[in-house]
């Protein structure tokens, strides 16, 4: 059996700050298969974006990968040379950022920014690169691309800029795209368009996708599998359908219950009690235990990730007291 496209094992990404070491990613393990769409879900500060940046080796100091392994197509990326990572970025693994207003350089023309991305990996003439750039814009649905290539980013709307960013990310048909909340900053209607577009383009080229978001509803509409992060750890993984239908971790359950559309009209919107813990001062044991209604003495130690016994396809949860809907339905 071949190894999945991306295998992360026990990844620890730390930030050494004045107040102490922040373990932003605290023992994350996950896999992504070829062409698969994985949703990485969590609140801000849960470490989901840092996980994405760790894969690409794009951590800003003082961030650093403290330990663990990231294998891409069988190649170890932790400790790989700067030059090797640079060759990989944009070519084999691409990334799309959250705020399209900030991802394009405001003082460089669109063509400059696309063509440099082409020429950095492929030795092609400027003319050929220009043609490819126009084609890339057309692919993501930007009208009259030849004209638009000469424009500056500020002449584009937010949605259009994100399309440009997507076009750049897909230039080299990478095997994996990491999308860091690419629709959060956009209007709802444009959000849906972009999600649809991304899904279609990735399916066409067989590109795997890690879609980082805080919004479970987005993953519900497009993901194959989902991994839920809380305070630097993955607390639950599984097929999207299974997880949404029957969340096993109390935190996942809380997340699903707090999606407005899933609540009945007039009913009080369910909320997870308490606040997300400070990454500098994590609770002992399971980080969710102060907010968890099921917590007891056992939760003072960190639970391991365990396979849920009544599930198949890689359903795992990190909890001593997983919620078992099965018990209700089986009887």
């Amino acid at each position: 059996m071949t190894e999945p496209l991306l295998v992360i094992r026990d990844l620890e990404t730390h930030f050494d700050t004045r107040q102490g070491t922040v373990k932003a990613v605290n023992g994350v393990s996950l896999e992504v298969s070829r062409g698969e769409v994985l949703g990485l879900v969590g609140e801000s500060g849960s470490g989901k974006s840092i996980t994405g940046f760790s894969i690409l080796g794009l951590l800003d100091p003082p961030g650093r990968i403290a330990s663990g392994s990231i294998r891409f197509k069988g190649e170890e990326l932790v400790g790989a040379s700067q030059e090797r990572m640079r060759r990989l970025r944009g070519k084999d693994i691409a990334m799309i950022f959250q705020d399209p207003m900030m991802t394009l350089n405001p003082v460089l023309r669109i063509d400059t920014q696309i063509i440099e991305a082409i020429q950095v990996h492929d030795k092609v003439s400027h003319k050929a690169a220009h043609a490819r750039a126009a084609e890339a814009l057309r692919r993501v649905g930007i009208p009259s691309p030849e004209e638009r290539l000469k424009a500056y980013p500020h002449q584009f709307s937010g949605g259009m800029r994100q399309r440009v960013a997507i076009a750049i990310a897909l230039l080299h048909s990478p095997a994996l795209v990491i999308a860091d909340e690419p629709t959060t900053a956009l209007d709802v209607t444009i959000q849906a368009q972009i999600i649809h577009e991304m899904q279609k383009l990735c399916a066409e080229s067989g590109t795997a996708l890690i879609w980082i978001t805080h919004d479970l509803a987005v993953i519900d509409s497009m993901g194959d599998r989902v991994a839920v992060m809380y305070a630097g750890r993955i607390v639950e993984t599984g097929a999207v359908r299974d997880v949404i239908a029957a969340p096993a971790h109390p935190y996942t359950r809380g997340l699903i219950d707090s999606v407005p559309s899933r609540n009945h009209r007039g009913q009080r919107l369910a909320q997870i009690p308490g606040m997300a813990p400070s990454p500098l001062n994590l609770p002992q044991g399971c980080a969710f235990n102060p907010r968890c209604t099921f917590a007891d003495a056992a939760c003072q130690v960190v639970p391991d990730e365990t396979d849920l016994d009544n599930e198949r396809n890689g359903r795992r949860v990190r909890c001593f007291h997983p919620i078992r809907l099965a018990q209700e339905t089986v009887s």
Binding site: G90, L104, N105, P106
Partner: protein
């Protein structure tokens, strides 16, 4: 674009008018130039004759009116001391000052920007500490004292470079300049360094601050995510972004260099406009002082206009007022 330039030039006229009134009236209040011009043993009738010939017997408003009338025809009065048209006097000294100021700016930019980049890319490193401390030192050095120290070290102790005058000049493209001869360059070096150090410190700080603010921005990370090499990120993506404030400051500081060259020119006996203005103030040579200020004001206005136009080409987001609407 043309509308913008015309509007700016009209505004400039008003500024020039305001400056001329302020300066003319202000200088009128200062001492009597006749005292300085005439020998001590001059008698009363000689005094009267001098006052009349200089036009000093007329009321202030008439004097200003006469001055303004002549000024629009390009006549800014005749120097009491040199007895030649003041505008001619200033223009004859201008090349020396411009040469000094340009040379200083080139030194500041060529050394300051790379050092600022280096410090900004490695914040907190030993190199950053040294460069930053050095830049504060450069800021703190009083220009005139620093000039004295340069003379003391390089002229008196080491004897490497001459400490005063402009040396032999030659002509390049019909312009008389120190760049043309070895002797001229040797004379130019110390004053240019003296004038440059403050701006050098400024360039370092400006570049460093710009780099530090730009590096964490998403578009830098996105460029990295595209696989763009680090040198290209710094030299194209970051530098082009911080170039806007840098160019503004270069433009504005070019004007201030011309003004600050008064100090440097005085110390190094550099025969430029700056030395002329100090001498003229001390000798109460009013027409020269007024003409100097008007000429310098005009240069400032021109420089600012050029900077604003450069802005628009460097930063596509900037639209000149009067162009977009």
């Amino acid at each position: 674009m043309l509308v913008f330039i015309i509007r700016r030039l009209l505004q400039s006229m008003l500024v020039l008018l305001a400056v001329s009134i302020v300066v003319f009236v202000g200088l009128y209040a200062v001492g009597d130039p006749v005292d300085i011009l005439l020998p001590d043993d001059a008698n009363q009738s000689e005094r009267q004759a001098a006052i009349r010939s200089l036009g000093l017997d007329k009321p202030l408003i008439t004097q200003y009116g006469i001055f303004l009338g002549k000024a629009v025809q390009g006549d800014l009065g005749t120097s009491f001391v040199f007895n030649i048209p003041s505008i001619e006097l200033i223009l004859s000294r201008m090349p020396a000052t411009l040469e000094l100021a340009l040379c200083a700016m080139v030194i500041a930019v060529l050394i300051g920007i790379p050092l600022g980049l280096w410090a900004g890319l490695k914040p907190g490193s030993a190199a950053d500490e040294v460069i930053t401390t050095g830049s504060i030192l450069g800021f703190s050095l009083p220009g005139f004292w620093q000039g004295l120290m340069l003379i003391m070290i390089f002229s008196v102790w080491l004897g490497w470079l001459p400490s005063n005058g402009r040396g032999t000049t030659g002509t390049i493209f019909g312009i008389e300049t120190s760049f043309a001869t070895w002797d001229g360059l040797r004379h130019l070096l110390l004053p240019a360094i003296n004038l440059a150090l403050f701006k050098l410190a400024m360039m370092i700080r400006l570049t460093r601050a710009g780099v530090r603010e730009t590096m964490p921005l998403d578009f830098v990370k996105f460029a990295r995510a595209k696989g763009v090499s680090e040198p290209r990120i710094v030299l194209v993506h970051v530098l082009k972004n911080i170039l806007v404030p840098i160019v503004t400051v270069i433009g504005m500081e070019l004007g201030s260099l011309i003004a600050f060259s008064t100090v440097t020119e005085t110390i190094f006996a550099w025969p430029g406009m700056g030395k002329l203005i100090i001498d003229s103030i001390n000798k109460l040579d009013r027409p020269v002082v007024v003409a100097y200020l008007l000429v310098v004001t005009m240069m400032f206005i021109l420089i600012n206009l050029v900077v604003d136009l450069l802005y628009a080409t460097l930063d596509p987001r900037v639209r000149l007022k009067g162009v977009s609407e």
